[in-house]
Symmetry: C2
Subunit: 333 residues, 2 copies
């Protein structure tokens, strides 16, 4: 049995391209004592993994040329030398972009047989948990407040907006096209959307936030963060989740000009967070998210692409804003 | 009786100079019904008032050409048409740079006869309260943590350091000369000081903070904030108090490059504050600060300059880093 893998061929110098990857077939790995062999069903394509390709320190670590591209995945146990996991179990695992992978049990989590495994790459996985804790614990929105979200059509953003609506807030999404915005408004209940690529972005944002912004969920940093600072109300909160505007470049921008001046004038709190810091509360969050999915109060937008060999192009396209919802690559069995 | 006043003659275009002011003598004002006439004993020279001279929005308001320069002062009641204030009482008031001023009672606070009036421009005034609440409520240092302070020899900074030492933390001050730093270490118990004007500033800061920084009390923004971000530990807090690096210029710098990326990676909280938000707790804070002054646990460094006509040069020099401690202009009686 062969193991198709997508390797990092070179670290990008500037924008990422599909040619930074190469596809190889290697022999299937063998699980050792206490280990589990997993066959990948699907992997998530997420902007955060681009940060690691800078070759510098980031929370995502620093992948190196010649290694399998890192990714969260879901899969099925093919062989197990570990108690607690048996053949046929479905699990979440840091599979990377490959068909087969071997894991110690600390890296695995069993998927409830009653749940759609793909939800573990979306609302019940890191993306959904990030949206949940980032909005509720860091942003702390109150009813009738205005919540602004950047990368609002992304894997995290589209769930932040829905959770914010469940808190009875007004939700304004920033995304890269009005077509995406239409989906957010029609299907997910966003109150307004603004296209940051439009020349009138600042004026449009002002018009979309007549009562200012109380909570800004920041997935991008950069210009959108700078614009948000001008709309934030006194006592506003910024949940700093990611910096997608700065990932796909060798030359990150300076920070917004209003920092720290506007933070002082408007007594704004800006807090960076990683979802892993909330790990002890995952079970509670998943129970609530699962309830919302079952009741129809939350919709998981999933953008499925078949075939591991599509992963590099799908990733490049995602970094250019091509996705709506959680992008996953599904693998043949 | 004449009233010597220092007027804003023109708003600065670039760096402030003494020529942006002019001195005039005007007739003494008359207090109306419910008003109090105050003779200024001293005024505080503080960097924050420079922000208002930008002519744009700031918490300090926007002074205009032709008006008396704004400042906090202490003085003696010369005449009173208001109950609760009698001739000879000492008060704090927004006197501005002038000998005589008329106030409604809401603008006045009686000075306890047992206290040094100048302390109301320092440790018991806005500067001391800013240090107290900014450090304890916003920064929230714990014993054995490292607290870093910019503009550490300034009116706020030198008190932040002392309050931080009282919390049993390690205190590292950033200032503009080693001579100032020597005062902070010898007289006030700072553990280390670093000169931001030294070419080796970043390396020196690293050496002075071997265990990183847990709380950064930011009076400056700009390059020092950027450097602090690299030294902050996971879970670090930044109390954003002021932006002195950006006040004395027509062209503020961009924000630090690490925002928001480093905030995310290190889960840093950055919070802007204004002391006025803590007004209901002033009495408690003053009681504690007064206790520290009496016991000798806190030293108020006061940098006194005699004569209102010296105020413009003293302000320009303060913005260039010329002061150690709270700079006040004392007036003849």
């Amino acid at each position: 049995m062969q193991n198709q893998q997508v390797l990092i061929d070179s670290l990008p110098d500037g924008k990422l391209s599909a040619s930074n990857y190469r596809i190889v077939d290697t022999p299937a790995p063998e699980p050792g004592d206490g280990q589990v062999l997993v066959q990948t069903m699907a992997v998530a394509i997420t902007a955060g993994t681009r940060a690691g390709l800078q070759g510098s320190a980031s929370y995502a670590g620093a992948p190196q040329a010649g290694r399998v591209m890192n990714a969260s995945g879901v899969g099925e146990v093919l062989a197990s030398n570990a108690s607690g996991f048996k053949v046929g179990d479905r699990v979440t695992a840091p599979t990377g972009w490959q068909q087969l992978s071997v894991h110690n049990v600390e890296q695995l989590e069993l998927i409830d047989p009653g749940h759609d495994p793909l939800h573990y790459l979306g609302p019940l996985g890191i993306n959904g948990l990030t949206a949940y804790f980032g909005l509720l614990e860091v942003g702390q929105p109150k009813a009738d407040e205005t919540v602004m979200i950047s990368a609002a059509a992304g894997s995290v953003g589209h769930m932040v907006g829905q959770i914010a609506k469940l808190q009875k807030t007004k939700v304004v999404g920033v995304c890269s096209s009005l077509a995406k915005g239409e989906v957010l408004m029609s299907n997910l209940g966003f109150d307004a959307v603004v296209n940051y690529r439009d020349a009138n972005f600042r004026a449009d944002l002002k018009q979309a936030t007549p009562e200012g912004v109380d909570v800004y969920f920041d997935n991008t940093g950069g210009m959108i963060l700078g614009s948000a600072l001008f709309r934030l109300n006194v006592g506003g909160r910024i949940a700093c989740c990611g910096v997608v505007s700065q990932y796909d470049t060798a030359q990150p921008e300076p920070g917004p000009r209003g920092i720290p001046g506007l933070l002082v004038n408007k007594r704004i709190t800006m807090r960076g967070f990683l979802v892993f810091d909330f790990a002890e509360h995952y079970a509670r969050a998943r129970k609530q998210i699962h309830g919302w999915l079952n009741s129809g109060e939350m919709t998981s937008l999933t953008d499925q692409i078949a075939g591991l060999e599509q992963a590099p192009e799908a990733f490049v396209d995602l970094l250019a804003g091509g996705n709506v919802g959680t992008r996953v690559i599904t693998l043949d069995r």
